[in-house]
Symmetry: C2
Subunit: 479 residues, 2 copies
């Protein structure tokens, strides 16, 4: 475990300057006036916050900084687009605490598919840029607002929020924090809320999973996929079908997937029908588009299809209008009469739209924490805030097995230099890829043109043949 | 309880003749050749059946009849249309028993909404006429086929089947029979399968009903409505909204409906929003059409809408093309993106499409029977087979509170005479109603015509006024 100590603020500011030069981020002076941002609400220097601060035992090695020098690093989505749209910036001024709120010094943040959608402007739950993304983190309570009785300074908590979690300091309603149970690391805690609450509510509330049932999990090596697998294993004799590329089959098989299917080389519908001819009890569908249709048709009587995303919309780093339009066009729509005749259920789930349902979330969180021992988040990799682009790329290209985590621990100097080199290589690589794509397109176009020509010729031949046949028929008739 | 003894066959034949004269049914000679009917499969005189029959202790007062004189009364849907399309006929010949089948001497049959739909040709699970309708009955096992080990002659059973239950003798797979628990009458047993399994699977499988949740039950005084109310009461602190006409409120209130709503005089959506501003956890929707839209919009996050019929299609005795088209046109269709953003579930249920799911049904039936004591079917009324028209009319006009039952016990002579009188009166009444409708329509048309005229006159006046105004304006401009 890393990052147990809060980073020293002054050191951060230093690093920030260097880092800006490397990553072309804005200078601190240009950092967005967070005044207008809804989440978390900051302020200049409120007396409550100051009072709370002096009460706080300094968790850092150095003394707590003065209010006016209070600053912290934050990832900021500066506009919709590619990986480089998320920049590391420094926010200044100590956030004020309202009644019922707490301030958390963040250790680890979780990366989710919704964050990728958000960056492309495909997720309407994130306020407009500039805004700090991130739905979950773990850390230590640094200050508590008025009327907060269930949390105290020093508590280790995990946090679930609509947005704003990818920064070193967050202010949230205490109802959005949950105590980290004994024996759970900050990484694991940051990996828990979104994936496990999502999987839990889908499987046990909408899905009503019971022993001897069968479940299909797409992207079985992803965060929700692994959470769902572990939760299915808490029920006896559940048959699990999981799609993932072949290289991940060993891991997901060990994790509990009964039948891993390589969706890149096999028709998963066919594979499932071979093993389970009657179909499935539950289909978890994060893909959308044509895969939702396939999932629906795989349902047994009393089966449930649970749609929780449209990952098919993500094709590349930037918004791909064709992929979006195709996924949207193919998006599943169902008539109640079809549901009645099939005795089927179609459900939609997205945790991002449940942020006001604090009681529901708290119950699900408690249920998930109660299962500790039976479940354990699998961490794929941990990136520094500076490396958020790489982290996003790894998820989007589906190279991860388990959860991708961002740590607020600052990068070391040597790491940074190496990173800079890698960045250069990546840029070259991206350019090569782009060039190759263009070339391939040209070749494709040429081929298509050739084919068209051939087709035309063939059709012309057919027409000639027909004409001849007609002539012959006419002759016959004459005879 | 009536009809404990099996009716004597010869007496039945006698009665049948008289009854035909009253109800204008076909003569027995014209009774449909059941050879071609899929369900139940009869035969001329198979030796197995004969053997089984001689083994059977004669349950009737008279001696068991010879095979070739074996006959039984059956209700037969002779074609799609009004109440008179279901006729009482006599079937001849003893049904053969295949391996795994049992023959049941029927005591009581249940009436369901699907039977009304079927009569109008709106239910595709009933084979084409001529066919015996009916999805449930109770009775006593009279013979068992080969390989039947779990049932014996004399067992009291309830039966759930796709169709064919409205007759004195039925032959079904043993898996479609369930032992009637101690202390349950034949009426109650016949009222149990369709309504309670439907309500059970909807509330607990699709709905995942839990304490402190809220449920809307339409047609709360109907068979499924009362079953659902009783099942909801087995869970702590469930808030129940139930729609029914005002005259039924006392009964459904006593039964457990927290907030009865008269849908004829109130906007139920408004009433529910007043009490439960956030909406509902579960909506059971047997109506279809625009009510499904209303139900969907009433759902809380994680709410479930369960559609299980299209009662709105039934408007009158015969198929009403306008009602069908309107219900069909307004039928609900939903897009997964809407479900995702609302965190909602839409389910379809119909027991008629689950007839091959014997394990699922058996589990639900066992669960329902286990709740005996907490649940108890409410019998609205019991009709003789001869009165099936009245029974269907009572259900269709929604005059029942609870289940409508058909008994196979033959009608007494005096009753029949009274019935004949009533029939005459009803016919007159129907004619009066028709005449009144026609008259009302004439009056309405006349009124509409008047209104149109008035409107025209008013518009003419307005036009005059406008013309004058224009003139005045023109004058002003001149000045």
């Amino acid at each position: 475990m890393s990052g147990e100590d809060a980073p020293a603020q002054q050191q951060n500011a230093e690093e920030q300057k260097q880092q800006q030069q490397q990553q072309e981020t804005k200078t601190p002076a240009e950092s967005p006036k967070t005044e207008s941002k809804p989440d978390p609400p900051p302020s200049g220097a409120s007396t409550e916050a100051a009072a709370a601060d002096t009460d706080t035992p300094a968790p850092a090695e150095e003394k707590a900084p003065e209010e006016d020098t209070f600053s912290y690093r934050a990832l900021v989505l500066t506009g919709y687009g590619g990986y480089d749209k998320v920049k590391l910036q420094v926010k200044k001024g100590k956030p004020a605490l309202k009644s019922g709120e707490v301030m958390v010094r963040v250790k680890m943040c979780g990366l989710n598919f919704a964050d990728l959608m958000a960056r492309q402007g495909l997720y309407d739950r994130l306020p407009s840029p500039p805004v700090t993304p991130g739905m979950e983190c773990s850390g230590i309570i640094e200050a508590v607002g008025e009327d907060v009785t269930d949390r105290k300074v020093g508590d280790k908590v995990l946090v679930l929020n609509r947005s704003g979690m990818w920064q070193e300091v967050v202010v949230v309603a205490t109802t959005h924090t949950f105590l980290i149970p004994e024996g759970m690391s900050f990484e694991e805690a940051a990996a828990l809320p979104v994936n496990y609450i999502t999987a839990y509510l889908m499987l046990f509330d909408f899905g009503h999973l019971r022993p001897n049932q069968s479940v299909l999990i797409h992207m079985a090596a992803g965060g929700v996929g692994i959470a769902a697998t572990q939760l299915c294993k808490t029920v006896n004799d559940v048959t699990l079908f999981g799609t993932a590329s072949a290289s991940k089959h060993e891991v997901i098989g060990q994790g509990g997937v009964t039948h891993p299917i390589d969706y890149r080389t096999r028709d998963y519908v066919e594979e499932i029908r071979k093993i389970s001819p009657k179909g499935l009890d539950i289909v978890l569908d994060p893909l959308g588009g044509s895969d939702t249709h396939k999932g629906y048709n795989l349902l047994k009587p009393m089966g449930k299809l649970i749609s929780y995303g449209a990952a098919n919309m993500l094709a590349g780093q930037k918004k791909n209008l064709f992929a979006v339009a195709k996924t949207w066009y193919q998006q599943f729509s169902v008539h109640t009469l079809s549901l009645i005749q099939g005795n089927r259920s179609v459900c939609g789930f997205h945790l991002g739209y449940l942020d006001s349902e604090t009681e529901l979330i708290a119950q699900a969180m408690a249920a998930v924490v109660d299962l500790q021992g039976k479940i354990k988040p699998r961490i794929d990799s941990t990136y520094h805030l500076e490396q958020v682009g790489d982290a996003m790329r790894r998820m989007q290209e589906r190279n991860n097995i388990g959860k991708i985590i961002l740590t607020t621990e600052p990068m070391k100097e040597e790491e940074k230099k190496e990173e800079a080199k890698k960045d250069e290589e990546k840029k070259k690589d991206d350019k090569k890829k782009d060039d190759k794509k263009k070339e391939d397109k040209k070749k494709d176009d040429a081929k298509k043109e050739e084919k068209k020509e051939e087709k035309k010729k063939e059709e012309a031949k057919k027409d000639d043949k027909k004409a001849e046949e007609k002539k012959e028929e006419a002759k016959k008739e004459e005879n």
